[in-house]
Amino acid sequence: MIQEDTLKKVLYIDLSKKKFWVEERTDLFSQFIGGTGVAIKLLHENCGYDIDPFSPENPIIFAIGPLNGLFPIASKTVAVFKSPHTGNLGESHAGGRSAIAIRMAGYGAIVIKGRSDRPCYIAIHSDKVYFKDATTLWGLEEGVSAGRLIRNQEPGAGLRTIMRIGPAGEKMVSFACVTLETYRHFGRLGLGAVFGSKNLKAVVVSGKRDLKVTNFKEYKEVYGELLAQLAQSDKMRKYHELGTSSNIMPLSFSRGIPIKNLLTNELQEISNISGESFAEKHLGRRVACSHCPVACIHLATLRKPYEDEPYFYRTVYLSYDYELIYALGSMLGVTSSEGVLKLIEVVEDMGLDAISTGVVLSWITEAFEKGVISEKMTEGLIPQWGNVDTYIEIIKKIVYGTSEFFNDTRRGIDYVSSKYGGKEFALTYGGNEMPGYHTGYAAHIGYLFGARHSHLDSAGYAIDKEAMVRPLNEEQIANKIISEECWRQILSTLVICFFGREIYTVDVILRCLKLTGYNISKEELLKIGQKIYIDKYRFKIKSGFDLSSLSLPKRVFELPSSIGLLKKDFADRIIEILREKIKSLL
């Protein structure tokens, strides 16, 4: 790395003592580049393997990489922590203004430890760090936005990030998210709950600086090429135009979109919630993360009348994408776009992870139908496919409810189904709820073995798509899952948004890295990716993750996927191969 680069600076913040200090970690950033590579090292250093995720010892680690602030679509921040949802590795990525703000503030990583005795928020403005009182921001009612209040208090408009939690985070719902810039999230695995456990309402970061490159002329050239490709390339069109929600219809034709907890492949009127319908009826604005020209964030408008006052309306803007329409639409049998948007609104207001929330609701609905849970437990609410109003009430109960059952739902359905039954149809993978692809073996097994149990770990749906054309055997599927996940570690060290992955090929990445003072070969780069992957698995296993007990939910085998009905013995063989491969790497 370039010697003067501030990337090597790690900002440590102790919420208990209200102290902060900076350490230069050239060792970490030169070996593991940045982002997820540095973050996982910092997690090993700062997080005891057997600690309670809600204890003050659980660190919150944010990390960025050398390409952030230098190249377009290098726009993401990696967050790692011990997950209260799964009990092992918590990792989530988000964009918004965060990555550029942290880079411009002059850091490569931020480590937050301890617990504040009162609600507080942290404001980081370049080399200054302030601990601010947030007692009045805690427990705010809907309608008052903590984000807006903080916006008015803090400098750095336009360039700063404001990461904050909602009621779900305050109440430590294990799948609470952290919201950035209103529309972006560290969604999965419960970072919001870890914020809540620390009495940390928000983190604000801002700064402004110039960075160094090894050769300015070449830098400008590479930058220009990347920008042109991002604008013109067909590879980007899907994100540009309809956004990821363009996948709703194709995946519905191929039976790849999960519907009603995977009870059926049929959903009449699914076209009402397609990307095309959303664009036509609701698309109100497109926005982008800092330093990304793609602008994949699609904001829908929802016009809501005031019930008690005629001729008064309010218009809310809500971001939507494929995963949200799946989790709060098809999975719940909701086929009106307004209905999906109303659910998105309450999920945003509460500060929950949308995917987990949708899958929790779909499990509750089926469990209720099957008599696994009763009306008494749901405090009189009767969940029903497609019934948006009841779902809204249930979401609020998950956060605010006082009954034992709703208390339990705050820990996700792995826990709830272990306690009440209904495991066969609890769609969880390593404790995390299912993403929106029932495309074949690779999708499901990818969630199961992905270090963060996300569809983004190895993009199994893309492997399934390949398998639809040319069948793959067990060994091939297993190999593809691991090599894709290893490669993605590189993207998330830099930290490039996965939507730019087809443009950031190995050669492009090596050129960019050279300009930031990293002279490494292709082989070395791939080796680093694999090392990071192994390091993540080491953390998981040391914190109690058990490879031998991993299995797929029974439901997965009961309904045809995009590649047909899945066979358990075939899946089991892939699982066995992956187990052995991972063990041999450790």
Binding site: M104, G158, L159, D210, F216, K220, L227
Partner: protein, 131 residues
Amino acid sequence: MPVFVRDSEKCVGCLICMFACGRAHLAVGLESSCIKVRSQGGISRGFSVFVCRGCEDPPCARSCPEDALIVRKSGGVLLKEDRCTGCSYCVKACILDAIGWSTIKNKPVICIQCGECAKSCHYRVLEYRRI
């Protein structure tokens, strides 16, 4: 040949123009950028772009006590850095908020009317126009 804001309603807030302006000032990053993009009080309300319109009779130059801002024939101003004392009067004089500030140099960042910001905007929010 200044840059005009054609339609800020289309602005997605990507800041690509700010980074382009940095490069136009031979830098990497945002410190040496004079164009600004800010949300209109929350992202859902969209963005505003603040960029120099190359005034023919520039108030920024008139406000400079050191004559460090030279009026260009085609509009806008040129910064004579050695004369500038870093008083920031010019920043306040520009009602468009189109002057940047480098805290490192403690000097203003002045638009050089190069059009790089407009050329790199994918959404044609900005237009580089001959007048």
